[in-house]
């Protein structure tokens, strides 16, 4: 070895740096362990779902006004209601994105240690960010490509099944708009790459570890507000220039705005409710399980806030939808509408109901992933508690309580919010509001969430093994 060597290691050019980063990202993916594959698989699954929903929304949006083919589902026929269906499909991306966000957190500790090791080996912060973004992008590209293939395959199957029918169920007669389809397939991984890169901007990656910057960059809120005003102003100017669009755009825009506001409120409410409960219960807990769960809520009230926020959103929408559906269907049946009108409402509500159920399934899946991730991250601490004499049953109950405690008030509030929407919407009918079905929704959502948390309990057994005590 010579002592003159460092001069030979001049910084490489940008093209070589990118090539090295891409190669490194590929090597890291190739050597990923089982836990990493779980994470990558779930992220790819999220990209798959997002692509399918976006392609479905695009297909519905592509049905031209005055299209001669009539479908069995009335929502596909009316040019006035189709934007609502498109919006519902686009809104399905909200729980999917929350699910992807949750999945990316699996093994976060391990990944952060790897980032630090890369920095220690001489990688610059930019290189580490590039590697992470490329990894996310490649994973999502696999998922979105699978989504494209899956969507086209499902479309072909549906087309062959309903061929010859005068009123098809699905709009498979609408030709595939390839540029749009390819754009969606590429947009999903690009969005994931950009989101991954943005998320890492909030952390400082040093050879000693990854540190979160507690203070957000200055004026970001101001810049965000200016950007939002610009986007809103442009949208309003565009819509205002075409009078026909104004009404068609108003309802979906209002609905989207309401969902964003409720979502932002839900994240705050979920975190605040967890913190409040943790603070209140930690000094009053009479059982060890409650004490452990309350301590955890107090220490990290935001751990479940993102997933709980999706559950809250779905509950609000679910309660509102169930009530409105009941009222309108009762109205339609009472006034003896024409059979075609009744069919329109029934099939329309069935389609929206299915959308709500899919959203609930994705939200609950995200909650299960979140609980499992939390268990994996804390396995050494859990193994230490078990080794110190805390019974397995107490830890099991504590784990369930961590989900059950903050969710109870959050779901209750969401139910009340949904009832408010339902009440405001049905006020003009002046009839007595049926409450049984809407009130069942929060109960069903809560039970589904507890089941999802319970589904991760088998992992607890593995986390408590003495070998985990040796885990770094």
């Amino acid at each position: 070895m010579s002592t003159e060597a460092p001069t030979a290691l001049a910084p490489p050019g940008p093209a070589r740096v990118l090539l090295t980063d891409a190669r490194l990202a590929t090597d890291l993916l190739r050597g990923a362990g089982r836990r990493e594959w779980w994470r990558l698989g779930l992220v790819a699954f999220g990209a798959f779902l997002a692509t399918c929903f976006a392609l479905a929304a695009g297909t519905v949006a592509a049905i031209p006004d005055g299209h001669p083919v009539r479908y069995t589902n009335g929502l596909l026929n009316g040019s006035g209601v189709r934007p609502g269906l498109v919006l519902a499909l686009v809104l399905l991306l909200v729980p999917v994105l929350a699910f992807v966000g949750q999945a990316t957190r699996i093994g976060a500790v391990h990944r952060e240690r790897r980032f630090a090791a890369l920095r220690l080996a001489g990688a610059t912060t930019r290189q580490v960010r590039t590697v992470a973004a490329l990894e996310a992008g490649v994973t999502c590209l696999f998922g979105s490509f699978a989504g494209l293939v899956g969507f086209l395959a499902a479309r072909a199957v549906a087309d062959s099944v309903q061929r010859g029918r005068s009123t098809p169920v699905l709009p498979t007669d609408i030709p595939v708009f390839w540029p749009g389809f390819i754009l969606v397939t590429l947009a999903v991984p690009l969005l994931a790459t950009a989101t991954g890169a943005l998320a890492l901007r909030r952390v400082a990656i040093s050879p000693l570890g990854v540190f979160r910057r507690t203070r957000p960059p200055r004026n970001l809120g101001l810049y965000g507000l200016v950007a939002l005003l610009l986007v809103l102003g442009s949208a309003l100017a565009f819509v205002g220039s075409k009078p026909g669009l104004l009404m068609a755009a108003a309802v979906p825009a209002l609905a989207a705005g309401a969902v964003i506001l409720i979502g932002a409120g839900a994240v705050s409410a979920a975190g605040a409710s967890a913190r409040f409960l943790g603070n209140r219960l930690v000094g009053r807990a009479q059982s060890p399980a409650l004490l452990i769960a309350a301590g955890r809520l107090q220490a990290d009230p935001w751990a479940g806030a993102r997933v709980h926020a999706t559950v809250i959103l779905v509950t609000v929408v679910g309660v509102g939808f169930t009530g409105i559906r009941r009222i309108i269907l009762d109205e339609v049946n009472t006034r003896q509408y024409a059979a075609s009108d009744t069919g329109f409402y029934e099939s329309g509500f069935a389609a929206v109901g299915l959308t709500v159920l899919v959203a609930l399934a994705v939200a609950v899946l995200g909650l299960a992933v979140g609980t499992a991730e939390s268990l994996i991250t804390r396995r050494r601490a859990l193994a230490a508690q078990f080794a110190a004499g805390v019974p397995r049953s107490v830890l099991r109950r504590a784990l369930l309580l961590e989900t059950a405690l903050p969710l109870a008030p959050a779901v209750l509030l969401a139910g009340l919010g949904g009832l408010l929407i339902y009440g405001a919407y049905t006020a003009p009918f002046g009839s007595e509001l049926p409450l049984l079905q809407p009130l069942l929704v929060p109960v069903v959502v809560y039970a589904a969430c507890l089941l999802a948390a319970a589904a991760s309990l088998p992992l607890l057994g593995r986390a408590l093994r003495p070998a985990e005590l040796r885990h770094e």
Binding site: P6, A123, E472
Partner: protein
């Protein structure tokens, strides 16, 4: 320290200009003062042990001197240039080319093989894959772990993993190696193998080594030992007394 296993070939004669120097470094983490005006110098080819009790500031001093952490006050100079004022990117490039860093554990990337881990600093520096792998293999050979080149860190013993980490630290032929408790997680046999390999390679390449340790056996491999207490260097006679006391306690 006369019975040091590696004492013989160290730098001799009049003291040369330091390659790396810390002058009056201070660093606090919140209310905790980790360093309080610590100064230390390292000459080319010298092996210096930085000892002291837990929490004495040894690791913080090493991190400051390696450019990983910026001191609150004081100066770090490397080859006559101020290191502490350099931007993060420049310090990273310096660590990539001129410095090698070894920690107690957790520094290897589990997804990469031992060969890829060692080749990584070269690849990051733009060396072509084949050439980087050849140099990595040569370095692994030097540390006696060439046979484990295709293994991932999870398949290696603690001693083997640490030797791979040392090979990675030395693959760019750095001028200074920073080792923070490099044998803290190893048994005595593995510890001896790792230290012997490090000292032998450093001597051969003329690399300076700053090793942080609380273990007198590890410090015995060094040419010189300085002791830290409460973030400040202990004056040499007191350090010698303290070392003697530690040795006496051990007996």
């Amino acid at each position: 320290m006369n019975n040091s296993p590696s004492r013989t070939p160290g730098p001799t004669g009049p003291r040369r200009a330091p390659i790396l120097a810390a002058h009056a470094l201070s660093k606090s983490y919140g209310a905790t003062e980790a360093l309080r005006g610590a100064s230390v110098e390292l000459t080319a080819g010298e092996i210096l042990a930085l000892t002291g009790a837990s929490g004495s500031g040894k690791s913080t001093l090493l991190h400051c001197m390696a450019g990983i952490v910026e001191p609150d006050a004081g100066a770090v100079t490397y080859e006559g240039r101020r290191l502490d004022g350099l931007p993060e990117h420049a310090r990273t490039l310096l660590r990539r080319t001129d410095f090698g860093v070894v920690f107690q554990f957790g520094q290897l990337i589990p997804e990469l093989t031992a060969r890829d881990n060692v080749a990584l600093p070269l690849l990051l520096a733009g060396v072509r894959r084949q050439a980087a792998e050849q140099r990595a293999d040569a370095c692994l050979e030097r540390f006696g772990v060439r046979g484990q080149a295709a293994s991932r860190p999870g398949e290696l013993s603690g001693g083997q993993a640490q030797r791979v980490a040392m090979a990675r630290a030395l693959v760019t032929e750095p001028k200074v190696i920073f080792a923070d408790e490099p044998t803290g997680a190893l048994d005595s046999l593995a510890s001896e193998q790792v230290l012997t390999a490090l000292v032998h390679t450093a001597r051969e390449a003329g690399t300076a080594v700053l090793v942080v340790t609380h273990d007198a056996q590890v410090a015995a491999y060094a040419d010189r030992e300085v002791q830290l207490r409460d973030g400040a260097l202990v004056p040499e006679p007191a350090a010698a007394t303290a070392t003697a006391r530690v040795a006496g306690d051990e007996h």
